[in-house]
Symmetry: C2
DNA sequence: CGTTGACAACTGCCCGGCTTTTGTCTAGAT
DNA sequence: ATCTAGACAAAAGCCGGGCAGTTGTCAACG
């Protein structure tokens, strides 16, 4: 029993409700969706919804959070596919994110022209939970894929990526490939530093060899200089 | 004589009006400020205001833009003070920005809890003009300070910095120093690459022996593989 | 040119009254 | 036990209408 029934059932319930909202959001705006609609679409009573989430605001929070998690899942998958080349992983991850975000119902709702900005605060001025959670998860995923990376470095990179991702999702700048390439160019050198051990699988496991991976101090060290 | 009177007068007029708005915004919210108030505070008729800006929305745009320019001025000053050390310039610039943003009336209005988010779209989903303008100016300032930097590289860096700056202004994460340090850690390596020519002559200041600036290709080259 | 005064059009707000929704509670069903 | 159904107060939204304020654009005036 990895997860007791109680919490599994609760998780299933929450997912079903969030799925219902996801479906409704493809047709109507959030402000035109009542909690009753969400409950009914999920085949559940309104009170169960309130039991599971507490309030409409909290539900919106959870929805944004899970939608972020979904995008993150795609991003992590893209990263895992390039474990051997961190820079390529970075570029691929960002490009995948941009593509997924462009056709995501929630993102479209947020960015929709002339629409009432219901969710926008949740990913900007009120976005602490989303950013923190997404960054934490992304950092965990990175330290899992590249164990030799300092966790503090991964967290730094993750938060920066999350913030840039939100920025570009809210306000695309150029093509997805171009953006991903820029991000790779900008953060690639840092990633190279951080993953020095795996990036330089070359001859010497030691440090002061020379050419390919010059005597770079670790990012944390160089940062707090 | 460098600028004909007509345009100088127009510029002065616009500045005066924007200053009036700036002052009014310290007491009231934007939605509670009428164009008449702005005009009157500037000692000018309402029609002159409309002649100068066209519409309330356009005025808000211009206001946000100029406020960004003001912050940018402080940032550029901080950068110019560290022309010899691009990484330090980066950190100092970002820290100055965060400090200035934290006490800026416009930023406070945008971030204010429970307030009607009037300006938020202008720096997020509708922020193309602001981001583009700020990035262009910042890039120009950088290529001026470090002439050997490829302009494309500077533009990349500038846009990234502007987006991160907006993100952190809207949603501060930790202390200003910590944030600036993170940004420096993340983008420092890229900056080092870009400014290789100028970074190299300032030799083994903090780095150990060997080759402080190894055979690094220019960032553009490494970016496009 | 900038100001002034006037203008239609639109928006905002007040009213009272009505409907819907939110959030909670209780009783009842499986 | 937990979910549902039903009811509930409180809050919010929508009406229409009327009134005040604002926006945006005139023409006429210094």
């Amino acid at each position: 029993m990895s997860t007791p029934y109680a919490v599994a059932a609760r998780q299933l319930l929450r997912d079903t409700l969030l799925d219902a909202a996801h479906e409704l959001l493809q047709r109507r705006a959030w402000r035109d969706i009542a909690m009753r609609d969400v409950a009914h679409t999920a085949g559940v009573s309104r009170q169960t919804l309130y039991k599971a989430f507490g309030s409409r605001e909290a539900f919106a929070q959870a929805f944004v959070m899970r939608e972020g998690d979904r995008l993150l899942a795609a991003v992590e998958e893209a990263m895992q596919a390039h474990l051997d080349d961190p820079r390529a992983a970075l570029a691929s991850a960002f490009e995948v994110f941009l593509a997924a975000a462009a056709e995501n119902p929630l993102v479209r709702t947020v960015v929709r022209e002339g629409a009432a900005e219901d969710f926008l605060p949740l990913v900007t001025i009120r976005g602490t939970p989303v950013v923190a959670h997404a960054a934490a998860r992304l950092a965990a995923s990175m330290t899992e894929g590249w164990p030799e990376v300092e966790h503090a470095d991964a967290e730094r990179l993750a938060e920066c990526l999350v913030r840039l991702a939100i920025s570009y999702a809210a306000l695309p700048g150029g093509s997805a490939e171009g953006t991903a390439e820029s991000v790779m160019a900008l953060l690639g050198p840092y990633v190279q530093e951080i993953t020095a051990a795996v990036a330089a699988p070359a001859p010497d496991h030691g440090r002061d060899g020379g050419s390919p991976a010059p005597p770079l101090t670790t990012a944390t060290a160089s940062a707090r200089r």
